[in-house]
Subunit: 407 residues, 2 copies
Amino acid sequence: MKYQYIQHKSATPLAEKPALNLLQQDICLPAALLKQTAIQHNLQWMQRFAQASGVLLAPHGKTSMTPWLFQQQLAVGAWGITVATAYQAQVAAQAGAKRIILANQLVGVANMAIIAALLAGGTELFVCIDHADNANALAAFFATEQIVLPVLIELGVPGGRCGCRSNQQAVALAKHIAGLPALALAGIEFYEGVINTNDTEHSVRQFVQQAAALCKALLRLQLFKHTNLLISGAGSAWYDIVAAELSKATLPPTMQTVLRPGCYVSHDRGIYQQAQQLIEQRSALACKLGAGLHNALELAVYVQSLPEPGLAVLGFGKRDAAFDAGLPQAIAIYRNGQMLSDKLQDCQTTKLMDQHAFWRYSPALTPKIGDIVILGASHPCLTFDKWRTLWLTDNDYNLLQQVDTCF
Amino acid sequence: MKYQYIQHKSATPLAEKPALNLLQQDICLPAALLKQTAIQHNLQWMQRFAQASGVLLAPHGKTSMTPWLFQQQLAVGAWGITVATAYQAQVAAQAGAKRIILANQLVGVANMAIIAALLAGGTELFVCIDHADNANALAAFFATEQIVLPVLIELGVPGGRCGCRSNQQAVALAKHIAGLPALALAGIEFYEGVINTNDTEHSVRQFVQQAAALCKALLRLQLFKHTNLLISGAGSAWYDIVAAELSKATLPPTMQTVLRPGCYVSHDRGIYQQAQQLIEQRSALACKLGAGLHNALELAVYVQSLPEPGLAVLGFGKRDAAFDAGLPQAIAIYRNGQMLSDKLQDCQTTKLMDQHAFWRYSPALTPKIGDIVILGASHPCLTFDKWRTLWLTDNDYNLLQQVDTCF
């Protein structure tokens, strides 16, 4: 047998070669790739942004759920890792995160048990609360476990997702939490990414100011019960404004600002690329740091069928890539290891089925079955979760290592 | 430590109980469930339909990619398993399939190597071809491997996906294949599910008739070179018509009809439920078999937040369920192990984010945080691929076993 196999869909017949190269057909396609240079650039860029802004980073791990990326994020200076579920918190802790924000409500006995085990093991961990009923359920569980659970009150917006809808509600909840000895109020959490108004930027600024005012009110009322206080907001679209507004708010030094962007690490060629362009337009700091973020997440697929003039069926589909915020689009096409073209703006992916993509190519191009097309996608979270393993590559598509996801 | 953990997102703190029950909060939610009774019913129903129709079944494995389900399908009498990629073929073979249809073109050296290894290991395997270039590439690879590759010519439709666009094209390709000793033409494959016309049923019938006529032409020209000949079509929406039309075509007994429905095994509460209702309306046989197909794939999630009157945020999202053919909708809601209601027609899931769902509930309902909502979804393929493990349950949500997916 000339080949070895591994048990996931980027199954790899490892040719008997000292080094594998994607363009030499050494691995099965479709495959998902992380470009090493872009990943390292993005890691450094966001860490420099946070340092220059005087804020801490707890990158949202739900984007990639890739422990190797969590380790890279922590290695360049991230304060902790953010997650959305108890299971994700466990993965982050196993990857080495000492501080974890569960930026979500913790509900259900089995989920609470995971968090209790992590706290008992020494992880510094914070969960969000937006309702007295949930506070009571958590207090009952953690009292039995004889563990104090650090909690953040989630502030939301009317019409938004989770979270108290006003500072008044949040203060009432804080008072309720103060009566529950198993809970220790440690700060405020919010997510501005659900705001969508006629002037979203202005609404985001107002919301961050409201969160800062809530912090000050809770400090005044002495309702915080934890030693390390946090105020945490920001996805990948508004982190500049959250950092700027919280800086202006002059909170006491005992309260640290923690930002939670997630998608920056892989970046994308869609909605996050657009969001980052806006950030670079409005943020002098982002501008000064230069060279923005680079897309690191690519798909490599075969031209599988050429059934009609101008139409290629590519060998990937909804099984392999995000498709909810624009379809993956081609970046370059290769044949026999050589680039045919990276000017594919006139080509377009028009439809995805489960395992196939329809690609309308321009008359200037004459693709052949077996050509390799490299694509970029929009919304990296939903591409990551289609893969158990991604290939880390250099810019020449030499394959450096495999990195596993933990969904 | 009271709990054990396993490494995937339906991570299971296994309470120290002889039997686990989902409604008793014994496992982490969200979780994906397969209802044992419905699975067994669907397996039997489709097998009876195939037997009564005089056709063989090679259920499409790409739907579930769950070896346990492949084994169930084979155990009740499936002739083989259909797959969409070389990697999927490997999974099917490891699950015990002795006959596999790769209902797709085989492109790329590493993918070919997987298929070569399966053939060398004794698996009876067929791959699809729609282009002379692909035939040449396959012939070159398999000649070097000294293996003869059984191939099916894929017939497609203008405006459709892969496949020759006419019988004339297909015959020309068959003649080309006849000149390639490493390839053995073994039949015809088509997929009618891409047809969408003013009278789709009529167009599907015509297309199946065209495929049968192509078979007869190739038989007349003595272009088949394999001992076991196949004609294969049918997804989960038109299998009755494909079976009926191929029966009418009176092909010789050396040519077996193999249908490839995939979604029937879990069924759904959306597009496949609608397709099956149409089948039961038009097929006397489906009617006679009675009791149709039952949805077997459910999601169990927590009410996580109740931020505004009438709005619940449920603890699942695009990370956990298909959302491309209608959003998952609630079937029932439970509290403390007791059903609160299964009349939830006035409630509606209105939006999914990555990890959250917006659920507008009716004034008749007063959900609480921690209530468990059971949902059904549309398009099972894209729910399966969000999970590494699903829970097999009885109708009372006792947890019978975990079954792994292999994406």
